[in-house]
C-alpha cells in the first residue's frame, strides 16, 4: 500500500502540472475567505448598510463559529474541479505517454495502478481537509465574536463531510478520464458539464419540473448534497444545518460506484 502511494507521489511531486493545480487550489482556498472579508471591510468603510437590516457589512456572521464550517465547506465545493483536474491530468497523460502500459509491463498489476491513484486521492482529500480546517480555525478566531471551544467544534462535522465530497468528486473525474483518456478533452468536458450542464439541469429539474429526486442523482451534485447551502439563512430563509442522511448516503454511494467503475475500467480492459 505504502509502496503504491510512494510511486504515485514520485510521479506527481516531479510534475509541474501537479504543483500548478494544487498551488492554484490552495490559493483559492486561502483567497476566498480573505477576499470576502476584505470586500465586507470595504463595504463597511463605504458606510453601506446591508439589506433591510441595520447592521454593517463586517457584522454579517459569515465567520462565526458554528456557522463557519458549513459556509466554508459549501463555498469550497464550488471549486472542487481544481482538485479533480489532478487525477484527470495525471491519468490522461499516463495514457498519452504510454506509461500506464509500461508501468504494468514493469511489474505493477492494473489493480496496483488503481490503488496507487485512489490512495493518493484519499491523501489529497485528507490534506485539503486539514488545510481547510486550519483556515477555518484561523479566520474564525480572527473574526468570530464567539470563540468558546464548544462552539468552535460544534459544526466541525462539515470538515469530514467536505473530505468525503472531495474523494467522491475526484473518483468521478477519474472515471471520466478513464473513459475518454484525453486530458484536454476531459478537462473541457468536465468544466462545461459541472459549471454549465449540471447547473442548468439542476435548475430545470428542481424548479421547473419540481422533480427533486432526480436532481439529487446528478453526478456532481450527488457528491456535495451532504453539505447543504447555508446562505439562504442570511436572507432569513430556513436552512438545513446538519448533514442530511440522503446526502451522506449519496456521497458514500458515489465513492463506491465511481470507485468500482474505475476499478473495472482499469482491470477489465486492454491497456492501450
Amino acid at each position: 500500500m505504502l509502496r503504491l502511494l510512494r510511486i504515485e507521489w514520485f510521479k506527481l511531486r516531479h510534475s509541474r502540472y501537479f504543483w500548478a493545480l494544487f498551488g492554484l487550489f490552495v490559493l483559492v482556498l486561502l483567497g476566498l475567505p480573505l477576499g470576502v472579508r476584505g470586500f465586507l471591510v470595504y463595504l463597511t468603510s463605504q458606510g453601506e448598510s446591508i439589506l433591510r437590516l441595520d447592521i454593517s457589512a463586517v457584522e454579517i456572521p459569515l465567520y462565526d463559529f458554528v456557522d463557519i464550517w458549513q459556509n466554508q465547506a459549501w463555498i469550497y465545493t464550488l471549486f472542487s474541479l481544481f482538485l479533480g483536474f489532478i487525477p484527470v491530468i495525471s491519468v490522461g497523460n499516463e495514457y498519452s505517454y504510454g506509461t500506464i502500459r509500461q508501468n504494468v509491463i514493469d511489474g505493477l498489476s492494473p489493480s496496483d495502478l488503481f490503488w496507487s491513484k485512489v490512495l493518493f486521492m484519499l491523501v489529497l482529500a485528507l490534506v485539503v481537509t486539514f488545510i481547510t480546517g486550519l483556515i477555518g480555525l484561523v479566520t474564525g478566531y480572527l473574526w468570530s465574536p464567539v470563540t468558546e471551544w464548544s462552539f468552535v467544534v460544534q459544526n466541525m462535522k462539515f470538515l469530514p463531510a467536505y473530505g468525503l465530497h472531495l474523494l467522491a468528486f475526484q473518483l468521478l473525474c477519474l472515471v471520466v478520464v478513464l473513459l475518454i483518456k484525453r486530458t484536454g478533452i476531459v478537462m473541457a468536458l468536465l468544466t462545461f458539464y459541472i459549471y454549465g450542464v449540471e447547473f442548468i439541469a439542476q435548475g430545470i429539474l428542481r424548479f421547473k419540473l419540481e422533480w427533486e429526486l432526480a436532481a439529487k442523482f446528478l453526478p456532481g451534485r450527488a457528491t456535495h448534497m451532504l453539505i447543504p447551502n447555508p446562505f439562504p439563512k442570511y436572507i432569513l430563509q430556513e436552512t438545513i444545518t446538519t448533514i442530511p442522511l440522503d446526502g451522506l448516503l449519496l456521497a458514500i454511494g458515489s465513492v463506491i460506484l465511481y470507485g468500482g467503475l474505475a476499478y473495472m475500467l482499469l482491470t477489465r480492459r486492454d491497456l492501450n
Binding site: I7, H14, S15, G98, R101, I105, G107, L108, D112, D270
Partner: protein, 294 residues
C-alpha cells in the same frame, strides 16, 4: 522460459493472434518475425499482461502468470514509454521503484546505453535513438532474466540501428534470453539463434536460425567447368551443388574454409576464376517458408 499455449486474441472481427503455441528456450535469442500487422505486438502484449487474451494461456518460468514475474522480465513494447518531463535518471528511478530492484544499477545502465552524459536532460529532448537506448537500459535495469524488445530499431537511421544491434549482441553475450520482434529479416538473421514466423496471427514456422552453424554456400567458377563439376562431390564437407547461370553454387558443411576448397581444387589442377562465400540467408529460408504456405 516462456511457453505459449493456443493463445488467441480477437478485436471484434479481426483475429490478431490465432491459436498461437510457442516455446522460447532459456538462453536463446528468439526472433519473432512477421510483416506489420501479423500479431507480434499483440502476442507480446498478452504475455506482458497489458492485453487480455480472448482465450489460451501462457507460462513464464514454468509458472502461471503473475505481475510479480514481470519484475524478472525487462520489456519494451512498440515504442519507448517514459515521462517526457523527467530526466533519464528520474525515469529509471521510477522503474526501479516499480520493480523493487535496480536502483544501484542506474549509473551502470546509463553508461551501458551511452546516456550517462545526458542523464539529467528531460526525456522529451532526446533523439529517437537515445529514447530507444533508454528503453533498452530501462529493460535491463533490474537485471532481468529475459529481455523483450519489440521493433527496437524502428525509425532509426543506419548508425542508430548499428548501435542498437551491437547492444543486443552484447546483452545476448551476457547469456540473457532475448525475445526480439521484428519485421526485418536481416535483423533477426543478424542476432537471433531461433525464430518463429507469424503471418496474419498464425504461426507458420518455428525453429533455429540456420546459418554458418549448419551449412555454407560458396559460389565458384573455373575456366574448366566440366572438370570442376566432376571433382566437386569430393570436396571436404560436400553436401550438394547446383549449376547456376554464371557459376556453380556449392553447399558444404559449416566450418569449411574457402582456402581449403581452393587448395583441394588446385591439387587437382583446377584453378578458380571466382570464389565467394554465401551464407544461406534467412531471407531464402523465409521465402521457402512463405512459398510452402502460399
Amino acid at each position: 522460459m516462456l511457453e505459449i499455449n493456443q493463445l488467441h486474441k480477437e478485436y471484434g472481427r479481426i483475429t490478431a493472434v490465432n491459436e498461437l503455441s510457442l516455446r522460447v528456450p532459456r538462453g536463446s535469442v528468439f526472433g519473432l518475425l512477421g510483416p506489420n500487422g501479423s500479431g507480434k505486438t499483440t502476442t507480446l502484449g498478452m504475455v506482458l499482461g497489458v492485453i487480455r487474451p480472448t482465450r489460451g494461456s501462457f507460462r513464464w518460468f514454468g509458472e502461471l502468470p503473475t505481475p510479480q514475474q514481470r519484475k524478472r522480465v525487462g520489456a519494451i513494447l512498440e515504442k519507448p514509454n517514459f515521462y517526457p518531463g523527467f530526466s533519464a535518471r528520474k525515469n529509471l528511478e521510477l522503474v526501479a521503484m516499480i520493480k523493487e530492484k535496480g536502483r544501484d544499477r542506474i549509473d551502470a545502465v546509463l553508461r551501458q546505453v551511452g546516456l550517462y552524459e545526458r542523464q539529467h536532460d528531460p526525456f522529451r529532448t532526446y533523439s529517437l535513438g537515445m529514447k530507444q537506448r533508454l528503453a533498452i537500459g530501462s529493460a535491463l535495469l533490474a537485471d532481468p532474466e529475459v529481455l523483450i524488445l519489440d521493433e527496437p530499431t524502428n525509425g532509426l537511421d543506419p548508425a542508430g540501428i548499428a548501435d542498437i544491434r551491437e547492444l543486443i549482441r552484447d546483452i545476448a553475450a551476457m547469456g540473457k534470453t532475448i525475445i526480439l520482434a521484428s519485421h526485418l529479416l536481416d535483423e533477426v538473421q543478424k542476432v537471433c539463434t531461433d525464430f518463429a514466423v507469424l503471418q496474419q496471427g498464425h504461426l507458420i514456422h518455428t525453429g533455429p536460425v540456420a546459418g554458418q552453424e549448419q551449412e555454407v554456400v560458396f559460389e565458384l567458377d573455373a575456366p574448366d567447368q566440366e572438370g570442376l563439376l566432376e571433382v566437386l562431390p569430393l570436396v571436404p564437407g560436400y553436401l550438394s551443388h547446383q549449376q547456376e547461370d554464371a557459376y556453380v553454387s556449392l553447399t558444404v558443411a559449416s566450418g569449411t574454409l574457402p582456402e581449403q576448397i581452393n587448395a583441394f581444387l588446385a591439387e587437382r589442377s583446377l584453378f578458380l576464376s571466382h570464389l565467394s562465400v554465401h551464407h544461406r540467408t534467412l531471407e531464402q529460408q523465409f521465402m521457402e517458408i512463405l512459398s510452402q504456405h502460399a
